[in-house]
Symmetry: C3
Subunit: 164 residues, 3 copies
């Protein structure tokens, strides 16, 4: 009986730790990419993780690293910008998880700030094999919220109804 209760507590606690680990990962992306910390951003992805954002298809951790170091991204952050992600809606299923959030890209220019894009983000993660307490991004898809069904479909990925 004590054994059962201990085992149940351990399972529930591990589930919560998973959720908070993914919460931290998701909350770290915006600050790290706006800081220009290429290796810290890249480390959020699996070695073979993908990041599919309109007009830019990254197919590995190295590609994500290169994106942060790219002239385009450096120009953004040198001028001042915020990749502002909202709270992630997370659904975990064993060693896989989906996190969905919306995002705003805010830019600074000529002393003023403006919203340049609102986006839908669906992030698929898996538990790290090397460190079972860590999670890694396997596939992130981002689309601008311009009314397309493609963007809107991303937003339902973590809802109960979407459970396979």
């Amino acid at each position: 009986m004590t054994e059962d209760r201990l085992a149940a507590l351990e399972i529930r606690l591990a589930r919560i730790e998973d959720e908070l680990a993914i919460t931290r990962l998701m909350a770290s992306y915006g600050p790290l990419v706006d800081a220009g910390d290429a290796s810290a951003v890249a480390a959020l992805w699996a070695v073979d993780g993908q990041y599919d954002v309109e007009g830019w298809q990254m197919r590995s951790r190295a590609d994500v690293d290169a994106m942060v170091r790219s002239e385009a991204h450096q120009h953004l952050i040198n001028g001042g910008c915020s990749h502002f992600l909202g709270p992630a809606h997370i659904r975990i299923d064993g060693d896989e998880a989906i996190a969905v959030c919306e995002s705003l890209l805010v830019r600074h220019r000529d002393g003023a700030f403006s919203v340049r894009r609102a986006g839908a983000n669906q992030v698929r993660l898996r538990r790290s094999v090397a460190d079972r307490t860590r999670w890694e991004i396997v596939h992130r898809t981002t689309r601008a919220l311009t009314g397309s069904t493609e963007a809107r479909d991303l937003l339902v990925g973590a809802s109960e109804a979407a459970r396979p």
Copy 2:
């Protein structure tokens, strides 16, 4: 002694699971309403739950479903928009809870995005009778942050000082 420690752990863990369940619910509203998933949005509310947003008083889960399917909301999401909610400040008291957050409505139009409204949200929830791990919205009130005391009063609902 072991019994007491187990019981204490179970209570603390259940409290955390409640908080994360409400966090997930709050994080899911924006993505689901922008996806236009009427039944998933409506399922966040109790059958008799209310949603009071300026100029629109919904008095049931069915009313919330109808709002998402309405021409006004469909027009918004077909053009592209983000109901961007910030992290919720949550206070739980047994089977009741309050979650407070601010929100932005960002719209896409003619290729550009802009903030159309900033809002104060106070969401009152209760534990589901049918499923004690689920929470449902009993009453959500949203007001634009135009300086009114009504909007500002909503924002203190989850603070310690507001504890009844």
Copy 3:
């Protein structure tokens, strides 16, 4: 064996409770400051806590209280505004913690809303001596995201690599 497992669970649970306590604190700042609840905002800081925001150096809880009551802040909230903070990236190390987030200042004016500033926030906290379940802000630094290295350096404060 049971003793070891109980002790391990208690430690892990306390770690999670710390993280959620800080999450709540961070999520409460925006709503409380936009409500103008000076004493509730001030209570987030340690008695000798500091808040260093461009052009304004507060050196105590009383200074934070005075900021909220100031003519400048009252003017902002009477006209309508949102200090919209994103989800905090939190790193805890014993009795100390760092929370990093980005923020937007949205203002209402002449019936319209606009983003007036995007900011980088680094918040250093410590566990309260009087109440070991509470956390207090020791030092918050906020800088506008205009491309300065100072602002960008704040954003990496909670990442693994920044661990001392």
